[in-house]
């Protein structure tokens, strides 16, 4: 348990209190926690566990199973590039390589200045306007290296 002085506690209690009545509340709680802090602070796990009457290990097991939940905050901007087949058919792999080279990171990496995190995604449902990417939640179709450059300039300039 966190001591009552911990800065997370009041907001965390609110989040858990609002969702714990759901049937199967753990994923909605983890999503809400990540929406609040940009990641799931590890000190929150014990609080969630205690509120739901499950073990901390169980909460950790669930959060670590899903690709979406982060233990650490991402960079200021999150760039996701689709790696799935339809995007590969339209040059998705080359786009991914261009992005890695441009940012100087591999998948899941964050640029040295903390500006951009690069994540793979398997399908955004934009398979008829491939290759697809998503920057800070905004989806973009038919992305090539030039378009990517323009997007990065737009958000990170």
């Amino acid at each position: 348990m966190l001591d009552s002085q911990h800065p997370l506690q009041p907001r965390l209690d609110e989040i858990i209190g609002g969702l714990r009545g759901l049937e199967g509340p753990l994923l909605p709680i983890l999503h809400a926690v990540q929406a609040e802090w940009g990641h799931v602070p590890q000190e929150a796990l014990a609080v969630i566990a205690s509120a739901l009457n499950i073990s901390r290990a169980e909460v950790h097991g669930v959060m670590s199973f899903y690709h979406d939940f982060r233990e650490e905050p991402a960079g200021t901007h999150l760039l996701r590039i689709c790696r799935a087949e339809a995007c590969q058919a339209m040059g998705g792999a080359a786009l991914a390589e261009a992005a890695k080279a441009r940012l100087g990171v591999d998948w899941h990496g964050t640029t040295a200045d903390g500006g951009v995190t690069l994540e793979p995604v398997f399908c955004l449902g934009l398979c008829a306007c491939a290759p697809a990417a998503q920057i800070d939640g905004r989806v973009v179709g038919r992305v090539d290296a030039d378009r990517l450059e323009a997007l990065l300039k737009e958000c990170c300039a």
Binding site: H31, D68, G141
Partner: protein, 508 residues
């Protein structure tokens, strides 16, 4: 003046929001009163953003529209270079049989009045006058089979849940559409969310369930937004709630968001995820129909299966059943994707040949190069060579060719694709997404990548090993992830052996 600019994610990914803003700005500058409707997509993705202007003759289309085109469309629509004429006369659309997608792209997605003006709620009203057994019989008679990929008869699943003992039952909609090349669920939820709500409500009242969940993947933020708002509207208007349309039947639903695990598209891992657990696959039996969500009898159906129920109830089982081929009855929303000229959603009766779909409807490749391979049914579907283009689109027909139709996604590749690379990707994807429960999937996929790398280095002795590994994965995995990954791998190996041999020469 009524103007439609889609709010579908694909249209937005191609600039629809900026176009919509330009329509409002330019109209204001001209002093023209414009009603802007953010509709769903008509499914002609190469024309997106497709702007439609309502005229006395019908809705006239323009596409693909850029911001710079908007002024011209408002000033001189007839002579605009991007004018497409009446949208419903565009051959790609005119040739379709739109039943499940009858309203997608047509209506304002969040207007329940618009929904009702286009035959919405007719199916539910009819169902409310029937017994649960009669509704289930109607769904059975329609021949509807699970559109998620497994093809299990929907009515039989409903009958199992209806007759199962249980004080609480659930309807769970599988909207975890993770297969590459598929976007029908997304388009339907973004373009006509009330159809899914109506379908789930019909399922609920006929099997005796009072609660539904839509398990919607986090990669679809637009669909999450539209569905959440549609549920709120439906509740406010008495479609959902303690007494559905005043009938005394209770049914309500929640939208739940996934968290990026592909395997949660498998129904039992979806149920675990919904319960707040790791998305690990469960052994069957017990069937989810008997012990599903929270151990209660549960209908788990794909978005398209549930969204097809309203039209079946509206027009009758026979109307739906009369379309199709063999044991594949009704229509299927084909999703044509990847390297194609005219990509998008094409709803048609089962039975079109793969070749007709790709050459005739999709117009061949976008790059203009010859087609080399077509993956049907997502990342777990087989690769088809051009030699198999005669295969008619149907569950049994594709099964007979060593493939599957899955969720009806069709991904086209031109002759620049390296099939060894695609086989390797299939194994890599399985390794990343495996839930870890079965050894053949968890370990086999990793060994599969290594074995394909050996073949790529010119070690032909690894080919029998890969074949053997695929057999083990197929027979020894609980679910389709480990069990079907061999489909793309083995079809690549057997249909495109040159790509596996060329790598050997290159290495020497």
């Amino acid at each position: 003046m009524k103007i439609y600019v889609p709010r579908d994610a694909a249209a937005r990914a191609l600039g629809a929001d900026a176009v919509a803003k330009a329509v409002v700005d330019q109209a204001a500058r001209r002093g023209v009163a414009v009603t802007l409707v953010r509709n769903g997509s008509r499914g002609m993705v190469w024309l997106e953003p497709l702007v439609e202007v309502e005229t006395d003759a019908g809705r006239v289309g323009f596409g693909p529209v850029e911001v710079a085109d908007v002024a011209g469309i408002l000033d001189a629509p007839e002579s605009h270079p991007k004018a497409l004429g009446l949208v419903e006369a565009i051959p790609f659309l005119a040739r379709q049989t739109r039943l499940t997608f009858q309203r997608v792209g047509v209506v304002d997605p969040l207007s329940l009045d618009d929904y009702e003006a286009h035959h919405g709620l007719k199916g539910l009203r009819r169902a409310l006058g029937m017994t649960g057994a009669e509704v289930v019989a109607e769904v059975k008679d329609s021949g509807l089979r699970g559109r998620g990929g497994a093809g299990f008869p929907t009515g039989i699943k409903w009958e199992t849940v209806r007759t199962a003992p249980g004080d609480r039952k659930y309807i769970v909609c599988n909207a975890d559409e993770g297969d590459s090349g598929t976007f029908a669920d997304r388009m339907l939820m973004e373009g006509d969310p009330f159809t899914l709500i109506e379908g789930m409500t019909i399922a609920g009242i006929s099997v005796g369930a009072t609660k539904g969940f839509v398990y919607l993947r986090s990669e679809y933020p637009d669909a999450i937004e539209v569905m959440t708002e549609a549920v709120r509207v439906a509740r406010a208007r008495g479609v959902l709630g303690a007494s559905v349309l005043g009938s005394g039947h209770a049914f309500d639903m929640e939208i739940r968001v996934g968290a990026g695990a592909y395997v949660c598209g498998e129904e039992t891992s979806l149920l675990n995820s919904l319960e707040g657990k790791r998305g690990v696959v469960r052994a069957k039996p017990p069937l989810p129909a008997l012990q599903g969500f929270m151990g209660r009898p549960t209908v788990v159906n794909n978005v398209i299966s549930l969204a097809t129920v309203p039209v079946i109830l509206e027009k009758g089982a026979a109307h739906y059943r009369d379309f199709g081929l063999g044991r594949s009855r009704g229509t299927i929303p084909l999703q044509i994707a990847g390297n194609v000229k005219f990509g998008g959603l094409f709803e048609a009766a089962f039975g079109l040949s793969l070749g007709a779909i790709i050459n005739d409807i999709a117009g061949g490749t976008a790059t203009g190069r010859p087609v080399k391979a077509v993956q049907v049914g997502g990342p777990l579907g087989a690769y088809f060579p051009v030699a198999k283009f005669g295969t008619p689109f149907g569950y049994e027909e594709f099964d007979g060719q060593g493939g599957l139709i899955g969720h009806a996604g069709i991904v086209v590749f031109d002759d620049s694709v390296d099939m060894l690379g695609m086989a390797r990707f299939a194994m890599e994807f399985c390794a990343i997404e495996s839930c870890g429960k079965c050894t053949p999937c968890r370990i086999g996929a990793v060994r599969g990548v290594e074995t394909i790398d050996r073949i790529a280095r010119g070690d032909a002795a690894a080919i029998p090993l890969l074949t053997d590994l695929c057999e083990t994965m197929k027979d020894g995995s609980l679910c389709a992830l480990g069990g079907f990954t061999p489909f793309p791998v083995m079809s690549a190996l057997t249909q495109f052996p040159d790509d596996f041999a060329r790598a050997k020469e290159a290495a020497e």
